[in-house]
């Protein structure tokens, strides 16, 4: 499988990945945000497909989703916005969203559309590993999509190994027992968790998410991990500054 995510993972650098909610702050900001992120040197982008009931997200991402839906964002519209994205953008693009909207679109249709557009992977927090393997893995693979699984500080070593075996790109390492956007900096607990995971010598690299918000936390997270994902902090930046100043936010991280 030839996938842009592999190219990034194979490089020597630490990866900076940015999450944003599609349709926020305005319905048609999607393409500009993606282009500006790439031009600012971001290595990978997670495009959030907004959902009415995002269980794993904190208030920042939830509110951005509510606004995006009010702005009229739908799965169909997002796909239309992304139709020509590969003419201008070459870094890996991942769609992150909850399972119900994908189920309603039709999982195979959804994957097919992703493939046509040039989406590289999916992160679906509420699609459990066993259901994925039994019902959807063949479809994802048929359309060249990498499915990214999460691990948390509470995930047992046995299950981490199972998830590692089932993965085919990177592992999304949730930094702490929390929803998105809720921790202020990393302490000893995270440090020892990061070290513990590093010592497992997993087959797949880990990218840390949840709680990364600035230069310091990005550096802490990528000390052992391959990269880190910033979500809520970037959404807050968009809320405060709109889409004109994306580069200054990215430059403040690295």
């Amino acid at each position: 499988m030839n996938n842009r995510i592999f190219t990034e993972l194979d490089s020597d650098k630490k990866l900076l990945s940015i999450y944003f909610t599609a349709g926020y702050p305005h319905l048609n900001d999607t393409v500009k945000i993606i282009q500006d992120l790439e031009n600012s040197g971001v290595d990978m982008i997670e495009i959030g497909l907004p959902f009415s009931d995002p269980l794993a997200d904190g208030p920042t991402i939830q509110e951005s989703s509510t606004t995006a839906l009010k702005n009229g964002m739908t799965t169909e519209i997002l796909f239309n916005q992304l139709q020509d994205i590969r003419k201008t953008v070459s870094i890996p693009l991942i769609i992150m969203g909850y399972f119900n909207p994908m189920l309603q679109f039709g999982v195979e249709d959804f994957c097919k559309k992703c493939n046509e557009i040039g989406i590289d992977g999916l992160i679906i927090p509420d699609l459990p590993l066993d259901v994925y393997q039994e019902q959807y893995e063949t479809i994802f693979k048929k359309y060249g999509l990498i499915n990214v699984f999460l691990i948390t500080p509470q995930t047992s070593e046995e299950r981490i190994k199972k998830i590692d075996a089932a993965s085919n790109g990177f592992i999304y390492m949730v930094s702490s027992a929390s929803v998105t956007g809720s921790k202020s900096g990393f302490g000893k607990e995270q440090e020892s968790y990061f070290k513990r995971i590093a010592s497992l010598n997993l087959k797949h690299p880990q990218i840390v998410g949840f709680g990364i918000k600035d230069k310091k936390t990005f550096a802490q997270a990528t000390e052992t991990a391959k990269g880190a994902i910033i979500g809520s902090a970037f959404i807050k930046h968009l809320t405060a500054h709109g889409t004109d100043n994306i580069e200054s936010f990215i430059k403040s991280i690295r």
Binding site: L55, G58, Q62, E76, L127, F149, L150, V179
Partner: protein
């Protein structure tokens, strides 16, 4: 056993555990242990002792003579309204607090819509001396002030759910987020037969005390264990699940569910999930739910806060899809009228939720010798203001 949960947590195509990885350890621990713990001798002894001495069970199976004469059928009411805290909800919270203790948890969270489940949870937490946090939509807090006061008196902290539509589904989201943030010491007491496996089955088993009692009570009164019909209202569906449980495989027993049609199924203000819903994922399970074509969960409406939920439990989706149960829906108006009728004919003021079950007579004719058991899931005290406003009684 085709109507019961299978070993993977499904009822037919419905159920499962569609949860983020953050919840996996907690839900998995529960899945592995719940049956074993629940059927331990010491658990059963403590559970039944509390149901008897604290809740006041068995709840009577009452032959409603005047209501029977009016509607031309032999109508029995299962009096869950006479339970401590005024509804069936406490059967489940007693069970789950004992479960939480055995799992070594020392903090309880719950979601509540109208506040009945919140009160039932706060009650058992007070009983056991365990810290309790109840999430409730900001809008519901404003319209259910007496239950908020009850929870506070019982020592619970009531936290407003400020996200989304600020009602039950958002309170449930907030409770789930709390559990993600507090994975080690906290047990989440879900109040209905919903959520990721094993919740629907666990809640159903705790509520199945209702149908267990109906069987022997009806035997005493009618000389047979099985009625012709069991009838219950359905929001998420915990009282219905408990009322049906021991009759699921007795095919001679008709199962009837009454949903809340709100202002009418096609009015845009309804909670009739079987009529308006499609298969999807809500709060960790695959079930019938009300949603847009794009898969966004929509906000339901019913005059009854307890039926104001955009989904039904996976067991009920299966009962509907397989044709095992007949589904009806009653409008606000039909339910209110039926509630008033029961008050005048039998001297029992029902919860508006339960009044939906009584509204079955607006939709279905029975034979004079049909034996019906209707779950009177709660009492109407909490709904007095709604009744007063609706009928302009003051």
């Amino acid at each position: 056993m085709k109507y019961h949960v299978d070993e993977k947590g499904y009822y037919g195509e419905f159920g499962g555990a569609f949860i983020p990885e953050m919840l996996y350890p907690n839900v998995e621990e529960l899945r592995q242990k719940y049956i074993e713990i629940m059927y331990e001798e010491s658990f059963q002894k403590e559970f039944h002792q509390l149901l008897k001495d604290y809740v006041g069970r068995p709840s009577p199976l009452y032959y409603a003579k005047r209501l029977s004469e009016k509607h031309g059928a032999k109508i029995y009411l299962k009096r869950e309204d006479l339970n401590h805290t005024g509804a069936h909800k406490v059967n489940n919270t007693i069970g789950q607090i004992l479960m939480a203790k055995r799992l070594g948890k020392n903090r309880i969270i719950a979601e509540t819509g109208a506040g009945q489940h919140g009160v039932a949870t706060a009650t058992v937490c007070a009983l056991m001396g365990i810290k309790c946090v109840v999430y409730m939509g900001e809008i519901d807090i404003a319209r259910q002030a007496p239950n908020v006061a009850r929870m506070k008196m019982l020592g619970a902290e009531v936290r407003p759910a400020l996200s989304g539509s600020k009602t039950l589904k958002d309170a449930t989201n907030e409770a789930i987020r709390d559990w993600i943030n507090n994975p080690v010491d906290t047990h989440y007491i879900i109040g209905s037969a919903i959520g990721p496996h094993p919740y629907p089955d666990m809640v159903t088993r705790f509520q199945s005390i209702i149908s267990e009692e109906i069987k022997w009570q009806l035997k005493e009164k009618e000389g047979k264990e099985n009625p012709d019909y069991v009838i219950a209202c359905i929001g998420g569906g915990s009282n219905a699940a408990g009322t049906y449980y021991h009759f699921l495989d007795d095919m001679e027993v008709g199962i009837i569910a009454v949903e809340a049609a709100g202002k009418g199924i096609d009015s845009g203000e309804s909670a009739a999930t079987s009529a308006l819903g499609k298969v999807g994922i809500i709060h960790g399970c695959k079930t019938m739910l009300m949603q847009t074509n794009d898969g966004q969960i929509t906000e339901p409406y019913s005059i009854s806060a307890g039926l104001d939920y955009p989904g039904v439990g996976p067991m009920h989706s299966h009962l509907y899809k397989s044709g095992r149960a007949e589904f009806y829906s009653a409008t606000d108006e039909e339910a209110m009228r039926s509630g008033l009728e029961l008050s005048k004919l039998e001297g029992i003021i029902p919860a508006i939720e339960s009044a939906h079950a009584l509204a079955i007579f607006e939709h279905k004719k029975f034979n004079p010798d049909d034996v019906l058991v209707i779950s009177l899931s709660g009492r109407g005290d909490k709904d007095l203001q709604t009744y007063i406003d609706y009928f302009k009684l003051a």
